[in-house]
Symmetry: none
């Protein structure tokens, strides 16, 4: 049995392009944002806090990115009755707030994007715009009835 | 593109006047309070624990101030279903309790006031009284239906 | 007495240019680095982890940046007999490791750069190269006999 | 510029074989051990606490593995004057204790092994024995004069 398996890791260059795409959208919307990119293991890859973005969103945008990267689905979709336990048991790393989007290429989750400082819907919109920087990434997500 | 942008920072002298105004109101109400002032980045600027105020409010008044300074709106107005996540994901810095008021001058949030040791409504009343020390600060807030 | 005082805040755009300048130097040296930029209050402004940089340096590069931004001098210059206390009492935010450089413009510290993943001397070299992105920033530091 | 780069990730099957190899050595030595395997991002991949091993070594063996995986060299080789800062600034994740060994294949660090419950030298011996489960991994390390 092989000791290793092949994986395509998200590059720092791609992460910086994700920030730029997110910033462009946020500027267009007129809402400064914190934008975080984490890798497939939840480690921080790139971050920017736009001028005037909320400082509490430095951490929460990271946690949204981690939530999406770990689960392979957008954040903010947990069942309400599970959400608090998930947050507490992961020290807030699993957070049921909108604005986290997984980066999925060839069916594999290679990272996550987290955005915070606007409303949940605005955050999600910016995260989806940021994801467009990754041409081959999955773009269609089911956000369900919520 | 410029490396910096102009910002008016809250002075220590102003922060002490905020404490004094808050203390005067708390004394008038007969309820000792913890009063915290933070700057626009959430860092502690001034603090007083009045004789007999609850020691647990040392931290919670700071978290209320931080919540208001980060979001630019009074604390205690988050949706109930988001409140726990926000708290856990920010290590309690984003707290959905009444008593935090942002300090907004010329449309920019330059800090926050947090008050704790009374009921939520008493805390909010003292925070609003404390804010009156800043002549040019925004005074009218929408506290919504809650 | 005035309620506020004027301050020039480091912009997100400038912070991203700092990352780019640091990355260019690190690439030239052949050593991937974690590069952090914090503002004058120690809050995270921008970050990148270059491909292959040490993941433990995600935090330590931030702490170096915070150390420099708080003290207004390069990190790694504390007296050995003070260094441990400073680290413990600040939960590692004040760290006596090379690689942190303050961003000082017009005599005022407006942020800090922290670099980590190489040797201390390599980290410092990249931080100084990154600082060159800010034309008006103080560039001459006394690193003393150590 | 490409969005991703190729990486060979350590498999769970390989991680379990590392545990087995380490356990065999520990049994031969008559010293129960905690053995941790982490991936290249420091995340837990496999772990066993042998009967009677110290429970405090659950965490410290993980931190040794993380230290080795992050730096690409055995743990316990930092300069004494840096060791405390490194520990504090990384919340103990970077620990200057013997018993951590990086897993390096084709020049790339793909994980770390951490062992704890014996003396430092015993821990290191078990970690090196565990590493033998990975045929292609680098086996010769310079442990220096310490």
């Amino acid at each position: 049995m092989s000791d290793t398996y092949a994986f395509q890791k998200l590059s720092a260059a791609a992460a910086l392009r994700i920030l730029e795409a997110g910033m462009a959208k946020a500027q267009e919307m007129g809402i400064p944002q914190c934008i975080t990119v984490v890798d497939e293991g939840g480690n921080l890859l790139a971050f920017v806090r736009m001028d005037g973005a909320r400082f509490n969103s430095i951490d929460s945008s990271r946690h949204k990115a981690i939530t999406a990267a770990s689960s392979g689905r957008p954040s903010g979709l947990s069942k309400p009755e599970d959400a608090v336990f998930l947050a507490v048991t992961t020290q807030g790393r699993n957070v049921n707030l909108k604005g986290g989007i997984p980066i999925i290429v060839d069916g594999r989750c290679i990272g996550g994007i987290g955005v915070g400082s606007g409303t949940g819907d605005q955050d999600r919109e910016v995260a989806l715009a940021a994801l467009r920087a990754i041409k081959d990434a999955k773009k269609d997500f089911d956000f369900g009835p919520r």
